[in-house]
């Protein structure tokens, strides 16, 4: 039913019909090598959606000296939260994924997950004021900074408060 909701989304269908022949849809830029295994079993997303969310979350919080959102398993968390949560946010999110792929296909003739890094960043800049961006960013922040990796990232240069003020004045 939820996958059906995605296929029924106008932007996605339009995008597919325009570019599916000459675009990068089928084999992908990596040629013929088999795709990297997902490593987790989505409850809500299909495989394409799951990989798209992994890419999206990792664009929002990439790896640096510490792991990024993909390594921290944020996509799996978002899949769980949306699957077990109320239908409104769930459907808005799935529609948003389709909408984003539609934009990607229009701009770069490839779905988001197959766009190059600079193309993905350009797409995210383009949608930064959209409700969908706000939703995926909020979920990514929530998922990342409640993970072990995210907490370690927060505390990289933090100082535990001893509640004993070191300043002479006050």
């Amino acid at each position: 039913m939820l996958k059906g909701a995605l296929l029924g989304f106008g932007a996605w269908k339009k995008g597919v019909s325009q570019v599916q022949v000459k675009g990068r849809l089928a084999p992908g830029p990596g040629g013929h090598q088999p795709p990297r295994p997902l490593g987790w079993k989505p409850r809500l997303f299909d495989e394409h959606q799951a990989r798209t969310v992994e890419s999206l979350t990792d664009r929002i919080i990439p790896s640096s000296e510490t792991p990024g959102a993909q390594e921290a398993g944020v996509a799996e968390y978002i899949d769980l939260i949306l699957n077990d949560g109320p239908p409104g946010p769930r459907n808005r999110f799935l529609e948003g994924l389709g909408w984003l792929d539609g934009l990607a296909l229009r701009n770069y003739r490839a779905p988001f997950v197959r766009c190059a890094a600079n193309e993905q960043n350009a797409l995210l800049r383009q949608i930064q004021d959209s409700p969908f961006f706000r939703q995926i960013k909020d979920l990514t922040v929530q998922g990342y900074y409640t993970s072990k990796a995210g907490i370690d990232e927060l505390n990289r240069d933090g100082v535990p408060d001893t509640y004993a003020c070191p300043h002479e004045k006050h």
Partner: protein, 558 residues
């Protein structure tokens, strides 16, 4: 016709409710030699049920469970109702209540051994005669039939046992408790304290809190792990189940009946006295009775009043007609926030987390009756700490860095204002609704008066002025809409004290004017709400009523 199983035992006393007040009644009465049955509508818990040391990533939904709201649309609004403890809070579907459409009320309830003491805010402040004699001060409403001097020895008794950490300030409107050492203020809080004292003459003090800062009465000092509302394996905050109830059980004279949902009191028709209570076993739905010579209601303000309203047509012990009326709660969720740019922020996720904030005692209408068209006053709870910039814009490596590097010292003050006792704020039995145990439910009518709204607005403005005095930048008022009544979880009133049987349900010892072996010692007996957090005073009132019960029971006067 239901067949009611009646126990053969006749107890000296029944205590209904195992929270802060029920725990005190059970402890005092059993230690005085009385045989007591303590009824609790919820289940037993043990320290194995405590989850304060669980990290977010150890929880399925990392603390954001969408399941909580499914059956707890009201309870889930409270910060303390968490993924790991929400089963302590009532199931709103099983435990309905009604309100008029234009008067929402949030009724937050916990049914578990220990009641709301398991997840309470622990802030503990004495009241003064400015509160007990508020009507004499400004002409509105009724004085309490008791005064500060009556309660003072009981505050001391409770504080010595509970352990309240705090700083003595010598303020007449907020008498000092018997304190354990105070917790420390953060740098930002010291900046505020010093500036507000110097520029405005107002006192900022560390929160007075029922959390141990050194070992006390066999309980360990707090180790600052943070989320007290999820339990405490070191027993460092005060909750009845590992203190007062433990003591009562140790006497061998306490019978603990959990999962016992009290529906009404049983009244002896010949004498008019309370003969016991009728309850439904929560899991089996069996109807049962337990008998005693004295009944003490500590079921929480609105549950105690609901039991009385369900015990006789028009309500038991209601010759005054005041039962159900004069419901109060604190108006809050408003104040101001700012940033202290002079301090360098290096925030840290995780412990140590001081389970306390700062407090600004009431300064309005302490020496006069009215200010800017309002009477009474408000206090503030506040905080200042470095915070991560989770709200940083954008995405990518820049965003990830900004979460840490754009962190700042944040400071905030939120007001808690007094609510006037008004006849129009009342509860009654809804004739059309019952809970899952077949017990008629409350219909609650409450809204804020102009006086509360004026206090609230003044409190927000004064919060901003104090932050400005502290040199804060980017000061923002918050709380354009005040809290929905009930949401402060400080609901009191509806079976108030009065020396005059025509004006209240109970006397100054919480004894029902109409039923002399019936006592209501929880928040229901309150005459006015003051602006302080109420639990410490509820415990002191219960301790005092308990001494009275013990004395009169020995003299066979109940």
């Amino acid at each position: 016709m239901q067949i009611i199983a009646r126990g053969n035992d006749v107890f000296d006393a029944i205590v209904v409710g195992s929270g802060c007040t029920g725990g005190w009644a059970a402890k005092k009465l059993t230690e005085a030699g009385m045989k007591v049955a303590l009824l609790e509508a919820g289940s037993k818990v043990t320290p194995r049920d405590f989850t304060e040391h669980v990290e977010p990533y150890q929880l399925k939904y990392r603390g954001h469970s969408p399941r909580i709201a499914e059956r707890r649309p009201i309870q889930s609004k409270v910060y303390a109702c968490r993924e790991s403890n929400y089963h302590w809070f009532v199931d709103d579907i099983e435990n309905p209540y009604t309100t008029p459409d234009d008067k929402p009320f949030y009724w937050i309830r916990m049914r578990v051994l220990g009641g709301r003491s398991l997840s309470w805010g622990r802030q503990s402040y004495r009241m003064s005669d400015l509160d007990f004699k508020a009507a004499s001060h400004d002409g509105y409403g009724e004085d309490w039939p008791i005064c500060y001097a009556d309660l003072r020895p009981y505050y001391e008794e409770v504080e010595r046992y509970v352990g309240i950490s705090g700083q003595a300030e010598g303020l007449p409107q907020l008498p000092d408790s018997v304190f354990l050492p105070p917790m420390e203020m953060t740098c930002g809080e010291r900046v505020l304290r010093d500036a507000v004292k110097k520029k405005m003459g107002r006192t900022v003090t560390i929160g007075r809190v029922a959390v141990l800062t050194r070992p006390h009465n066999g309980r360990a000092a707090c180790h600052y792990c943070g989320p007290c509302e999820q339990g405490c394996i070191t027993y460092s905050y005060f909750a009845s189940l590992f203190t007062t109830i433990k003591d009562a059980l140790a006497t061998g004279r306490l019978t603990l009946l959990t999962d016992a949902v009290v529906s009404h009191l049983v009244v002896d028709k010949a004498t008019g006295k309370a003969a016991g209570v009728a309850y439904i076993e929560r899991k089996t739905r069996a109807a049962r009775e337990v008998r005693a010579k004295v009944v003490v209601l500590c079921a929480s303000t609105l549950e105690s009043t609901r039991i009385l309203l369900n015990s006789a047509p028009g309500g038991l012990a209601n010759s005054s007609g005041t039962l159900g009326h004069y419901l109060m709660d604190h108006i809050y969720r408003g104040g101001a926030t700012g940033e202290l740019a002079m301090l360098k922020a290096h925030p840290w996720y995780g412990p140590p987390r001081r389970p306390n904030g700062i407090y600004i005692p009431r300064f309005r209408n302490v020496d006069r009756a009215m200010t800017n068209g309002f009477i009474r006053g408000y206090g503030y709870q506040g905080w200042s700490r470095p915070e991560f910039a989770f709200d940083a814009p954008g995405f990518g490596a820049g965003f990830k860095r900004a979460v840490r590097e754009k962190s700042r010292w944040v400071i905030g003050l939120g007001l808690w204002a007094e609510c006037l006792a008004r006849w129009e704020n009342y509860v009654e039995i809804d004739p059309d609704r019952m809970d899952a145990w077949g017990i008629p439910v409350l219909r609650i009518h409450m809204n804020w008066s102009d006086n509360e709204l004026r206090l609230y607005e003044d409190g927000r403005q004064q919060a901003a002025e104090m932050l400005e005095a502290a040199g804060a930048k980017n000061i923002q008022l918050y709380g354009d809409e005040p809290s929905v009544p009930g949401f402060c979880i400080h609901e009191v009133g509806t079976a108030r004290m009065s020396a005059d049987p025509k004006k209240g349900v109970v006397n100054g010892f919480c004894q029902a004017h109409d039923v002399k072996n019936l006592f209501i010692t929880d928040g229901a007996c309150w005459v006015s709400i003051a602006c302080q957090n109420p639990t410490l005073t509820m415990m002191a009132i219960t301790a005092r009523a308990s001494d009275y019960i013990i004395d009169r029971y020995r003299k066979r006067e109940l």
